[in-house]
């Protein structure tokens, strides 16, 4: 199974070279890969419908609890067939749609990568494998939405979709980690077999909520639905494949997949079904005002994804069966209609229904594909959409009036939308004129819709075998026990039939009133929505970022130094106070006259160095400080240290004087207040260091190891000067490093002086 999933990735590498060598045939050739996969999955129908599941596990990072594993059951097989089958059609379609486009090779490659990723999502046997492919679908979706990358709207929409689904994905990742802690595993078979006690774990609720958040963003549920209509900026093959038939169903798939594991949590049904119901109605409402065919279909897709989510939340056996059946029906007709919309766009140059009409004469075959797909969408017999809608109604009725009313209302709008694309575009009197004279679409653009619409008809006429081989096994895995296949076109004269007729009538009325309705709905929807909220948040992030960065990093070294020193002083000081680490000697016993004198001299010189405006004066004062320190070394019996210090100080002063001689005096650029503030900060730091040093003098927890040096210097290191022996032998490695520092400094001085000045442009 891993090979089938990953084959798309390998195929994507071939796409660009193939496109270069056989530009006209590449789409057809590449479609052979998904077609082969489709046939392979068909051969699995037998064993899977007999109740078998296929599992394949490769360890990946067991330390992190990550497996690369696959799990194929009825639901997975259903999705895999859709992904591979529609994938083959879409590759052919893309070849026609983007013929001659310089980046068609990349389109093929991204589509194949996406197909791989999507197969991975639906066939994965471990939730982190799911996550891996889940994110890969987000990325390929990003690259595909932004395919027309020179257009700013495309880039914006691509980023929006990525951020919304990516953000959801991150929530989901957090949820998965929590679930792993609650359940101890993320392997899907193991989770399916886990005990109901899992739900009592305190982390189960947060885990479920976070995972659902990921699913909701992916499946465009309210309030995250807005990215999907905007994603219509993608070329139509992408919309048909990712944004109606497959990827957006990943969230629903995950909801269905995890239903048996987490569905009995008290949070699940209210959260999922309510979100689904709101999305169902919202999508339907938004569809009313759309005149762009693709946006119309997109909102209708949002609505139907809401329906699937609602069913996944209700979780009655009937609801789950309805979800599976409807998912299949929707993929067929919506994929076909998207391709039809793309073909119309391709041939006429517009997708605006107010400029289209009566295309059936010019594009008979496209119209012939649109009609059964539209009828299926409108849930008319004998198409499969009718059968699916009946099951959905049955499940909704069983769950109560509210659910039924919501589904009914949305279904009426679905009928309306179907009428717009299948009837208004092809059969109604033209309302305006398209930018281009329409022609029949080429074969590549007709094939997909014809096949999918034909399958919808076939499935409607022969629901039995389909149900037995594919749909019932898929639903059975969700329900937990085998189902009696019972799909049929004709159930007799039942109330359901009456409801269906009523829906159709309501939808037909909406269609007849479409022109005033569009105006009315547009007037009522204009205003504030999540899309606008996203824009605000997006802009807000950038404003916040700019504000914060201006605050923290505004470019003045003085301010950086202040903050750094304050942070250090604050941290260390607080800890000292907290721990009472201070150990100040009460007095300074035995301070001799010389010591006091030197200390006073140092202080005076330091004060002068700060206040003087003369550079040379400051340098000289610093020299005095250094000499004073050296004198202290001398007093405390470290003559060699003192010698070194005297030398260094003298040299430094001389060098500074040489370097500074030609420079002007210091100028004061800062205000008095600033200097006062700086002084306070500096004094704080100085006080802290003083206090620390004085406290340390009083405590010696352990004797130093330096007595060893005194003992070992002569007998073992053969040197009489201990300091020298330490420098060149005991700790000679330090000296090596310091020598390198000196060499570096020398190179630096040389380079800085000699490097030719570049003229600033």
């Amino acid at each position: 199974m891993s090979i089938t999933v990953l084959s798309g990735l390998a195929g994507s590498l071939l796409a660009a070279p193939l496109q270069r060598t056989a530009p006209r045939r590449a789409g057809w050739l590449l479609a052979l890969l998904p077609l082969g996969l489709f046939i392979y999955f068909l051969t699995l129908l037998g064993p899977v419908s007999a109740g078998r599941t296929l599992v394949e596990t490769l360890p990946w990072a067991p330390g992190l609890g990550v497996e690369f594993s696959f799990y194929l059951d009825g639901l997975g097989l259903l999705m895999a067939l859709l992904v591979s089958g529609i994938g083959a059609l879409v590759l052919v379609y893309a070849g026609g749609y983007l013929e001659g486009h310089p980046q068609l090779g990349r389109m093929y490659a991204f589509l194949l990568v996406f197909m791989s990723a999507m197969l991975g999502v639906v066939l994965s046997g471990h939730l982190l494998t799911t996550f891996l492919f889940w994110e890969l679908t987000s990325i390929s979706s990003f690259l595909l939405i932004g395919f027309d990358h020179k257009d700013e709207t495309s880039r914006k929409s691509a980023l929006q979709a990525l951020l919304v689904t990516g953000g959801g994905g991150l929530a989901m990742l957090a949820g998965l980690v929590l679930l792993n802690q609650a359940a101890g595993t993320l392997s899907i078979p193991a989770l399916l077999a886990s005990s109901p006690d899992l739900l009592k774990h305190p982390l189960a609720g947060p885990a479920a909520a976070l995972i659902l958040l990921g699913a909701f963003t992916k499946s465009a549920q309210f309030p995250f639905h807005f990215w999907l209509p905007n994603a219509m900026a993608a070329p139509t093959p992408v919309s048909a494949y990712l944004h109606s038939a497959t990827m957006v169903k990943a969230g629903v798939f995950l909801i269905l997949r995890l239903g048996p594991v987490l569905g009995d949590h008290p949070l699940w049904t209210p959260l999922v079904s309510l979100t689904g119901a709101v999305t169902l109605l919202l999508g339907a409402w938004m569809a009313l005002s759309q005149t762009d065919l693709k946006r119309l279909l997109a909102y209708s897709t949002v609505s139907m994804l809401g329906l699937l989510t609602l069913l996944g939340g209700l979780r009655t056996p009937l609801a789950l069966e309805a979800a599976v059946v409807f998912l299949f029906a929707h993929a067929l007709y919506k994929g076909a209609l998207f391709m039809v919309a793309g073909a119309v766009d391709h041939e006429t140059g517009t997708r605006d229904v107010t400029r289209l009409g009566g295309l059936a004469r010019r594009m008979p075959q496209t119209a012939a594909a649109a009609l059964p797909a539209g009828l299926s969408m409108a849930a008319l017999p004998p198409l499969f959409g009718f059968i699916a809608k009946e099951v959905v109604y049955e499940a909704a009725l069983e769950s109560g009036l509210f659910a039924f009313a919501a589904v009914f209302a949305a279904s009426a709008v679905t009928v309306f939308a179907a009428a717009v694309i299948a009837v208004e575009v092809f059969w109604a009197r033209p309302a305006g004129s398209p930018p281009r004279e329409p022609h029949e679409a080429p074969l590549a653009l007709r094939l997909g819709p014809l096949v999918l619409a034909g399958l919808g008809l076939l499935a409607g006429l022969l629901p039995g075998p389909l149900d037995r081989a594919l749909l019932s096994p898929a639903a059975a895995g969700l329900v937990g026990h085998p189902l009696q296949p019972g799909l049929a076109l004709w159930h007799g004269l039942t109330p359901l039939l009456a409801y269906s007729a009523l829906t159709f009538a309501a939808g037909a009325l909406l269609y007849l009133a479409r022109r005033p309705l569009r105006r009315l709905a547009a007037a009522l929807t204009a205003g504030f929505g999540p899309d606008r909220l996203y824009d605000l948040a997006y802009a807000g992030v950038f404003r916040l970022a700019a504000w914060q960065t201006g605050l923290l990093q505004h470019g003045t070294l003085r301010y950086y130094l202040n903050l750094t020193v304050l942070a250090a002083t604050g941290l260390v000081g607080t800890v000292l106070l907290l721990y009472g680490g201070l150990n100040m000697p009460a007095a300074f016993p035995g301070a001799t006259f010389y010591e006091v004198l030197i200390a006073a001299l140092i202080l005076l010189a330091a004060g002068f160095a700060i206040t003087t405006r003369s550079r040379l004066g400051a340098v000289a004062a610093l020299g005095v400080v250094g000499y004073g320190v050296a004198a202290i070394f001398l007093l405390f019996g470290a003559p060699d240290l003192a010698m070194t210090q005297f030398l260094i100080e003298s040299l430094t002063v001389i060098l500074f004087v040489l370097a500074f001689y030609h420079l002007p005096d210091f100028e004061r650029f800062s205000s008095r207040r600033t200097r006062l503030r700086d002084m306070l900060v500096a004094m704080l730091a100085g006080v802290l260091m003083t206090v620390l040093t004085l406290s340390a003098v009083g405590i010696q927890i352990f004797p130093t190891i330096s007595s060893y040096y005194a003992q070992a210097a002569l007998p073992e290191a053969h040197g009489r000067n201990i300091t020298n022996v330490i420098l060149v032998d005991f700790r000679g490695f330090d000296t090596l490093g310091e020598n390198v520092v000196l060499a570096l400094a020398a190179i630096g001085v040389f380079a800085l002086l000699k490097f030719p000045k570049r003229r600033q442009p």
Binding site: A61, G63, G581, L692, A696, I701, P703, I705
Partner: protein, 500 residues
């Protein structure tokens, strides 16, 4: 084997010296540089293999027994990070050939470069706190000169901020060393650990805590954590790309390494204070860094701010102070060294092609440079934490460790910051790659020596991918390192022999 412990320090030193001798013969100079870097990489990999199979290796330099001489120690943490650093050093030595130019090379660029590597290796390998200070000085001096070399106004301005704030860090470090030596009378890490571990009275403990925090500040400045990071965004975008890349991969990571080292072996008595503090620092570090990145409009400035955000992740793992947390921190550090450096390399190519760092002046590379675009996506998406790249496992391990330690806030922030990371990476993508270029912009420049520009990028991208696909090998290494750090007795015994 253990005498070879000094090789990763000596090889770059000798290479640097030879490069200086050959500075007037450019071809030879370059050969020496790349060969030396390759040898260095080989030594580091061999060391990692040896440590993996034989355990912690110790060399008492000059034969003086610990704690009197200087001890070099390679445990898994050191060896792993050293190997990652040497990989970068090797890759960048090739990239430098294309990007640095003859003029900088004639001012001993390669010598500075290898001396910097020497400092990094020394810091990773030393078992002595004062010796660590020395290596910090080597790094600081080498990096300062590298940063200022070229003499552009912006470079000098950045370099001065860089060196001032880093000298402040050195001052804190040195003060802490002095006080610590006064208190405990030793500088050898293992010896210090034993002695500090025995302190129970409150008042000396307070002094030790003060020292701990001084070191936290010193290393915190070096590793650019909140609110001590100012020097980094002020300076990293100014030098040539190869130099920025080198700094981004190595310098702050040595700071992180030092934090990890000191706060797993020396100051572990009061994790409620020290490690919680680190944990709390990690949160604003992650957040302010990524927001800073979002706000930038220059390619390399975005990357510079990003470094800060990701330092936050690394010290988050340290703050958790569990084997899992440390494993996450180590894995994340190695991942980040590779991926972030790689992005700096991409920025160098972009600048070469289009002559600017300003995002508004860039564009169209998706069409003109598809290979570069693909190579950009690997580290960029890895940073954003997308599977199957290294960044995913790095983040996953840290999130798991956080939730495991019931630090839901820190873990949650780590998750949320990923979204902004993704946003800023995709901002780069949109602006430099997808957006059509401004109409008045000149045509893309030529890219001579294409292989020298792109092979290093491809190599690092492959490593990023390999660290994800082979996550188990790397993660178990990091986890073993984490366990080692949580049980410092091994380290102490290895250094002190039988007399801890």
């Amino acid at each position: 084997m253990s005498r070879w412990l000094v090789a990763p320090i000596l090889i770059p030193m000798l290479t640097g010296v030879l490069c200086l001798l050959a500075v007037r013969r450019p071809r030879l100079n370059r050969w020496i540089s790349v060969t030396g870097a390759a040898l260095e990489l080989a030594a580091a990999v061999a060391l990692l293999a040896a440590v993996r199979s034989q355990g912690t290796l110790v060399l008492q330099v000059g034969g003086w027994p610990a704690p009197f001489g200087i001890t070099l120690v390679a445990d898994l943490l050191s060896a792993f990070l050293l190997a990652a650093a040497c990989l970068l050093a090797f890759t960048l030595s090739i990239y430098s050939l294309a990007s640095i130019g003859a003029q900088l090379e004639s001012f001993a660029y390669h010598t500075l470069y290898h001396f910097l590597i020497m400092g990094v290796s020394g810091a990773f390998l030393t078992g002595d706190l004062f010796n660590l200070y020395v290596w910090f000085e080597v790094m600081l001096m080498a990096s300062f000169v590298l940063m200022a070399l070229g003499g552009e106004r912006g470079q000098m301005e950045g370099a001065i901020k860089y060196v001032t704030l880093n000298l402040l860090a050195s001052a804190f470090f040195l003060a802490a060393l002095g006080i610590l030596y006064g208190l405990v009378g030793t500088l050898n890490l293992a010896d210090l650990a034993v002695k500090i571990g025995g302190v129970t009275e409150r008042q000396p403990q307070g002094m030790l805590m003060a020292v701990a925090l001084l070191l936290l500040v010193a290393f915190g400045i070096k590793s650019a954590v909140f609110p001590l990071f100012f020097w980094l965004p002020a300076s990293y975008h100014t030098p040539p790309a190869a130099v920025s890349a080198l700094f981004s991969g190595l310098l702050t990571k040595v700071g992180v390494y030092s934090l990890i080292r000191v706060f797993t072996i020396l100051f572990v008595q009061n994790p409620d204070l020290t490690h919680n503090l680190i944990l709390w620092i990690s949160i604003p570090t992650m957040v302010t860094g990524v927001l800073g990145a979002v706000a930038q409009n220059q390619f390399r400035r975005v990357l510079s701010f990003h470094i800060i955000s990701q330092i936050g992740y690394m010290i988050l793992g340290l703050g958790l102070f569990t084997p899992l947390g440390l494993a996450g921190a180590i894995y994340f550090t190695a991942h980040n060294m590779i991926a972030k450096t790689n992005l700096f390399l991409v920025s160098g190519v972009v600048e070469r092609l289009q002559g600017s760092q300003w995002l508004s002046r860039l564009g169209g590379l998706y069409v003109t440079q598809p290979l570069l675009a693909g190579l950009f996506l690997v580290p960029a998406l890895s940073l954003a934490g997308l599977p199957p790249l290294s960044g995913f496992f790095a983040k996953l391990s840290l999130i798991q460790a956080s939730f495991d330690a019931r630090q839901y806030l820190a873990g949650g922030v780590a998750v949320a910051v990923s979204l902004f990371t993704l946003l800023s990476m995709m901002k780069l993508w949109n602006e430099a790659f997808w957006k059509p270029r401004a109409e008045d912009a000149p045509a893309d420049a030529e890219l001579p020596d294409r292989a020298r520009w792109l092979v290093p990028i491809a190599l690092l991208s492959l490593v990023t991918l390999a660290m994800g696909l082979g996550a188990n090998w790397f993660y178990s290494l990091a986890l073993d390192a984490g366990h080692q750090l949580m049980n410092p007795n091994n380290y102490i015994l290895a250094v002190m022999g039988g007399q801890p």
